[in-house]
């Protein structure tokens, strides 16, 4: 009867190697929700092949989600640490405003015809502006120990207030035409929008950082059990600070992207950016309780509502019905995903 014991030991050793790709794929947390996304695209393609399945539709779909995608990359890190960041939308506006004002100042008032030097300065300003708010969030959460929801609720209001003060409550509108044309609407490699390229690169770096590096490992550990992480010698405070800094930094980039895209600081908008980023992350399988999540899931979570909206707009579904349908499909998608996999905690 010692034979089976050996048997098991062997399979144990065997399983320290990776299981076959097919199995890993189906077992992957993101497999089923990815199926939902593919199904949605297939359905809309079938309903409106001439309109939906066009290069232009996908170009605009991708462009429209680029800014949200960048925000959601940061949000994924934050939520995996079991935090939350409500301030991303306001920080985005703030960063865009600082960038806009900087570019205006450097071009003596009207930045519409500014060149790449000024634009680069604007980018730096946006990123710094975002990073500062990230640092403030991180400090208050990690060092002062205030709940993330309250901190980022506070900075959400404060960042917007400061943005409004900066330009007396109106939008900065003299955005370099060059910026709008190249980053906002330009394409490369035969049709891929530049804005999308930026978002893709950031997402890839984010995925790499989350899933293969020490930084990512610590992010999961802190979210899974902060006390255990601390006792294991991880500098939890410093790590949280970095995570919120990263999120602020990404919100800064998103602010610059938004400025390039809209050629305006759009201060009256972005009120639901935070909720959109959070729900994209959660839809992608990241747990609000922390410790669990994936970047691929977030990407899918960003695209499911985007595809839905695009598809409904194209197929002229009535406005009010659209709201109902989007709500229903979101729930159904996650339900479909959820029943396939067991989770420690459902939320």
């Amino acid at each position: 009867m010692s034979a089976p014991a050996k048997d098991i030991q062997t399979t144990v050793d065997g399983e320290f190697a990776k299981p076959p790709l097919g199995k890993r794929l189906v077992g992957a947390n993101t497999f089923w929700i990815a199926l939902v996304l593919i199904a949605l695209i297939a359905v809309f393609t079938a309903i409106a092949p001439a309109e939906f399945a066009t290069l232009f539709t996908f170009q605009t779909l991708l462009i429209e989600t680029s800014v949200l995608l960048v925000l959601s990359v940061g949000m994924t890190f934050v939520i995996i640490t079991s935090g939350i960041d409500l301030s991303v939308g306001s920080v985005l506006i703030f960063a865009g405003m600082v960038a806009g004002k900087t570019m205006e100042a450097l071009s003596g008032g009207d930045a519409s015809h500014a060149g790449w030097g000024v634009i680069t300065a604007g980018l730096v300003a946006a990123v710094l502006a975002g990073a500062v708010w990230g640092l403030i969030n991180g400090f208050l959460i990690a060092v002062a120990g205030i709940p993330p929801l309250i901190v980022t609720l506070g900075t959400m209001g404060a960042a917007l207030g400061v943005s409004l003060l900066l330009n007396g409550g109106s939008d900065v509108r003299s955005v370099p035409t060059e910026l709008n044309k190249v980053l906002g609407y330009g394409t490369s490699f035969g049709g891929i929008p530049n804005l999308v390229l930026v978002a893709v690169v950031i997402t890839l770096i984010g995925a790499w950082l989350l899933h293969t590096t020490r930084f990512g490992r610590y992010t999961f550990a802190v979210g899974s059990n902060a006390e255990a992480a601390r006792r294991s010698g991880i500098g939890v405070t410093a790590h949280l600070l970095k995570v919120y800094l990263l999120t602020g930094f990404l919100a800064g980039i998103a602010g610059f992207m938004s400025l390039a895209y809209y050629a305006s600081t759009t201060i009256s908008a972005h009120t639901t950016d935070n909720l959109n980023a959070i729900s994209a992350t959660v839809m992608g399988g990241t747990s609000l309780f922390g410790g669990v999540g994936s970047m691929l899931g977030t990407v899918i979570g960003v695209f499911i509502p985007a595809v839905l909206n695009k598809g409904f707009n194209i197929t002229h579904v009535q406005d009010f019905w659209q709201m109902i349908a989007v709500g229903a499909v979101l729930i159904a998608a996650v339900w479909f995903d959820q029943r396939r996999r067991r989770k420690r905690n459902s939320r």
């Binding site: 409550g169 109106s170 509108r173 906002g184 330009g186 809209y262 009256s268």
Partner: protein, 312 residues
């Protein structure tokens, strides 16, 4: 290998240019859904389109938000209508999406609001919001008489160009009435709850408050609620903007002392006229302004044609 271009131009298989199947199709994109102002505009536009033998479809964003409107406009890019009537939610941000549709062969007519870039649309039909603010101030001055006092201005969300213009026009005109002084422009985030709270606070902090100018429906509703709460209905003059059914109702009940009505149906009608003219190669007019009307309780019935509709 790095060919650069613009979205909707390079490498795009489907050709830009009017789709002949759509040559009788017009599209209207208002600023936000479910607002009597835009519904009335839609009614006017639909009726006119029908008369002229065109078909008009309407798609509105859930909020007065450039991002939401952009995705609607972009969705039209794959199958552009012959002409697009749009109320841009942002005079700058909406430029590129609208240009996309234009590049794909659609004629653009701006209704209600307009882009900063004047070269995109063939025509803009709007009522002058600053002018509306001015009219409101004049109405307020008439209501108050010579009594000295302060006037509170309730704006919606900072950065909303239409209401900002109304507030600014009001404040500017107020300077011509030395007995009235501005208690400042306050933002309500377009929430009645906040408007009510601002009003009740102003009642104590500004004892000489004689009037309130609410720049849209939600702020007006909140202001009326605040006044009702404080038992100050009728004692503080409330001038609202637009003539939505509930505002008209409020005017009848005496909650509002005056309303500044635009003529959305006319904007819609004229917009369609311009669009059709452009399509049929007839001359168009670059800028058209619709009339504004000040309505008080006394001339209520005389002005009933300006009341907004909530369905056609």
């Amino acid at each position: 290998a790095c060919g650069s271009g613009q979205v909707g131009q390079s490498g795009s298989g489907d050709k830009p240019g009017g789709n002949s199947a759509n040559s009788k199709k017009l599209a209207l994109v208002p600023g936000v859904q479910a607002e009597p102002f835009y519904i009335s505009m839609q009614c006017g536009a639909e009726a006119e389109a029908k008369k002229l033998g065109y078909e008009l479809t309407t798609q509105a964003p859930q909020k007065f938000d450039a991002a939401m409107q952009t995705s609607i406009v972009n969705a039209m890019g794959s199958n552009p209508p012959a002409a697009l009537l749009i109320a841009p939610t942002d005079d700058q941000a909406m430029l590129a999406p609208i240009e996309q549709v234009k590049n794909r062969g659609a004629k653009i007519v701006e209704v209600d609001t307009s882009l900063k870039d004047k070269s995109v649309a063939v025509s803009s039909v709007s009522s002058d919001n600053a002018e509306g603010g001015k009219l409101a101030a004049q109405t307020m001055a008439k209501l108050v008489g010579d009594k000295p006092g302060s006037v509170l201005i309730l704006d919606t969300i900072a950065g909303t160009s239409t209401t900002a213009a109304r507030a600014k026009g009001f404040e500017d005109e107020l300077k011509n009435h030395p007995n009235l002084k501005s208690a400042g422009i306050q933002f309500t985030q377009n929430e009645p709850e906040q408007a009510a709270s601002k009003v009740t606070a102003a009642l104590v902090s500004t004892p000489d408050l004689v009037g309130i100018f609410a720049t849209n429906l939600n702020t007006g509703e909140g202001a009326a609620t605040g006044l009702r709460n404080a038992g100050k209905i009728g004692k503080v003059n409330l001038v609202g903007f637009d003539a939505s059914p509930s505002e008209v109702d409020g005017l009848k009940k005496g909650e509002y002392q005056a309303l500044i009505a635009q003529d959305p149906a006319q904007i819609g009608t004229k917009g369609v006229d311009q669009a059709v003219a452009a399509l049929e190669g007839k001359p168009t007019e670059r800028n058209l302004t619709a009339q504004l009307h000040s309505i008080t309780k006394d001339d209520l019935d005389a002005n009933s044609q300006y009341f907004y509709k909530q369905s056609c």
